[in-house]
């Protein structure tokens, strides 16, 4: 048991972060060094002609998709927006940012209300969006016929992460904020690798392991679209 905890609670996070960082950097560098003759697509100057501005617009608002498939746009945009908010929300789990928030004028009650209110809502919304993405993938022939095992796996993995996260929030076995922050502080400073109190919570270990697995897969799976989008739009807007 202890060795399993060590494997998932200590080894995996380090490996995942290293693989993710090196993998993404390697991707970006290889993409960058390849020749890219212009292959402009018009109208090219919707954002004042700047490919970079256009890429920002596409990455933030998914504007091409907005024109192409409105239903998918709604689901996908909400999914990614909430995902970003959830990642930001997790900052408070990794480390104590309450002092920072308070210095910005938030009361302790307000922080708590934001965490349970907005955080709770985010967990539910993203679960709904994930289910909708899955349903869409299964229900629409043009999507289903190009879907492979890896596409389902990615959605299921994300779904499992969301569900275990929601269990911790809404279920009886609520995780301990103080212990969790201690654990991440230890990981970040490379000490205390045994007898970690936070890892006594099985749901937490599962949630966290799946999340690090997802992060680790990012540079080598379809999730790489997170990196690709910053390059692909540049190609057609030169």
């Amino acid at each position: 048991m202890e060795s399993l905890r060590f494997l998932f609670g200590v080894i995996l996070p380090y490996v995942a972060v290293i693989v993710f960082l090196l993998g993404m950097i390697w991707r970006f560098l290889t993409w960058k060094k390849l020749a890219s003759p212009p292959m402009t697509l018009f109208p090219a100057s919707t954002s004042g002609g700047s490919p970079t501005l256009n890429t920002i617009k596409e990455s933030v608002f998914f504007s091409s998709l907005f024109k192409g498939d409105r239903l998918l746009w709604i689901i996908a945009w909400i999914f990614h927006l909430v995902l970003v908010l959830i990642i930001l929300g997790h900052l408070r789990v990794f480390t104590n940012i309450d002092q920072l928030l308070m210095s910005l004028g938030m009361s302790e009650d307000a922080i708590l209300a934001m965490s349970t209110g907005a955080g709770g809502a985010a967990g539910v919304i993203i679960l709904a969006a994930t289910v909708l993405l899955l349903v869409r993938r299964l229900a629409i022939p043009r999507v289903r016929e190009i879907t492979g095992f890896a596409d389902y796996l990615a959605l299921l993995l994300i779904g499992a992460i969301i569900i275990t996260g929601n269990i911790m929030r809404f279920g009886p076995e609520h995780f301990d904020l103080v212990l969790t922050r201690e654990y991440f502080a230890d990981l970040a400073t490379f000490r205390n690798f045994t007898d970690i109190a936070a890892l006594q919570n099985g749901t937490f270990v599962l949630h966290m392991s799946l999340a690090f697995l997802l992060i680790m897969c990012m540079p080598f799976s379809k999730l790489l679209h997170f990196g690709g989008i910053f390059f692909t739009h540049q190609l057609i807007r030169k």
């Binding site: 998914f62 091409s64 998709l65 498939d69 043009r142 016929e145 989008i229 692909t232």
Partner: protein, 443 residues
């Protein structure tokens, strides 16, 4: 060629994608399989089958790429969407890679801007390398490389055609209107598609009238060697052929010492000259610039040089944006300026400009009569619906391939709708000495 040999060649070509250009590699690694491309694709709209799904077509190559070039593909095989190449699939590839018109509409709506035409061209390049380009296409390339034009016409036939056009114009207007040929030192070197001289010559007559009215009849020329901008190397994926075909025209432009290469109403020819040859500097610094004849005429119209008798073009007219002019070159307003000046009832079809639906004959498909059933009943279906919605009786378009596809499409579906060029309409209604053409039917 043995199967092992074929396999080795194909696999090597696909492995080479990882060395660039950047687009190919990114397209191997970025698709999220969301299906948006299929929902905006004219082929998939015509028939919703898996083989017509753009993401699936690209996946034909992507699966092999994953097998040989990705860690997950090597470790998990088909669970990671990787598959080995099977030489028996080549015959299927010959059909599938010629079931995409390369219209780039997918790229306009894809959340990542993935341009599946790039992978279609890659697939065609692989076929070409194996000598498996469909015969109808290879024939056009061969003729063009041999004679300098896709119709296989020689300079005698060309000069006879030009003489005929001059006679026609004289009959129309009662005065001689010149089409200069092989004039060294003329400012403008006009390069139409050969169809606009030999098949639908009104566009060339229209441009001749423009130069005549401006008093610039001695400032332009055509070439009896180079009168066809069409370049099918773009369609077969063979860069060598494409550049060889192009080089002849660049050399002729230099020999004629022109200042401007004035491209005719031919979308892919203009795209190759402007967006590829000129923009990426295939032949270094050029002593001339590339312009399109529609830009040129539209600018003169805006300057107020011409008068028109719109009653000569009373029928409802719509404009079909050729993909290579609209999406790939951004030439969308100039043809409209010309048509609105020359026609009494101009109507838009929707969507249009950069979002226009392909005619169904793009990517060279228009020249392939062996797949006419596919062009009429699958790839052209959306265009037919769009045209019908306008109520137009004349479709103007600036591309010989679009014209051929649209003409066949209207005939096939029993629509009495004429198809022609943009300058054609100008030629019919522009006033010379206060009088429009006394026109005969040319069709």
């Amino acid at each position: 060629m043995s199967d092992t040999n074929v396999k080795e060649k194909v696999v090597n070509a696909i492995k080479a994608i990882k060395n660039g250009p950047r687009a190919g590699r990114l397209y191997m690694e970025t698709c999220a399989k969301c299906g948006t491309c299929a929902s905006v694709c004219p082929i998939y709209h015509g028939k919703s089958e898996k083989r017509y799904n753009p993401a699936e077509r690209t996946d034909l190559i992507r699966r092999i790429y994953r097998k040989y070039c990705t860690i997950t593909g090597r470790l998990f095989g088909k669970w990671a969407g990787a598959e080995d190449f099977n030489p028996e699939d080549i015959e299927e590839w010959r059909s599938i890679f010629y079931e995409c018109t390369g219209c780039r509409r997918c790229a306009t709506y894809c959340p990542f801007g993935i341009d599946h035409s790039v992978m279609t061209r890659k697939g065609r390049a692989i076929l070409d390398m194996l000598g498996k380009t469909p015969d109808t296409m290879q024939k056009v390339v061969d003729i063009s490389l041999e004679t300098g034009n896709t119709d296989g016409a020689n300079d005698v036939a060309f000069k006879a055609a030009i003489e005929f056009l001059e006679e026609e114009m004289e009959e129309e207007h009662g005065i001689p209107i010149k089409i200069p040929v092989d004039v060294e030192g003329a400012d403008y070197f006009y390069v139409p598609p050969s169809g606009d001289v030999l098949v639908n010559p009104e566009a060339t007559m229209g441009l001749a009238k423009v130069f005549h009215i401006l008093g610039m009849a001695d400032k332009w020329t055509m070439s009896s060697k180079c009168f066809d901008g069409a370049n099918y190397g773009l369609f077969t994926g063979n860069d060598g052929d494409m550049k060889k075909d192009n080089e002849l025209y660049v050399q002729e432009a230099k020999d004629l010492k022109c200042k401007t290469m004035l491209m005719g109403e031919c979308g892919h020819a203009y795209r190759i000259m402007k967006m590829m040859m000129e923009k990426t500097g295939w032949w270094g610094e050029l002593p001339f610039k590339v312009e399109n004849c529609m830009e040129w005429t539209a600018d003169r119209i805006k300057e107020g040089h011409f008068e028109f008798d719109k009653s000569k073009n009373p029928q409802p007219v719509t404009y079909h944006d050729p993909c290579n002019f609209g999406r790939s070159c951004g030439i969308t307003e100039d043809p409209r300026v010309i048509l609105q000046a020359a026609c009494a009832d101009f109507r838009e079809m929707y969507p249009n400009r950069g979002e226009n639906w392909c005619c169904g004959g793009g990517g060279g498909l228009s020249a392939m009569d062996d797949i006419i059933e596919f062009r009429m009943e699958v790839s052209g279906v959306k265009k037919l619906e769009q045209v019908r919605d306008t109520g137009a009786k004349y479709i103007a378009t600036a591309c010989s391939n679009c014209k051929r596809q649209l003409t066949q499409l209207m005939e096939h579906h029993d629509e009495e709708i004429d198809v022609g060029g943009v300058h054609d309409m100008l030629s019919r209604s522009i006033l010379i000495n206060g009088k429009a053409a006394d026109r005969k039917e040319y069709v």
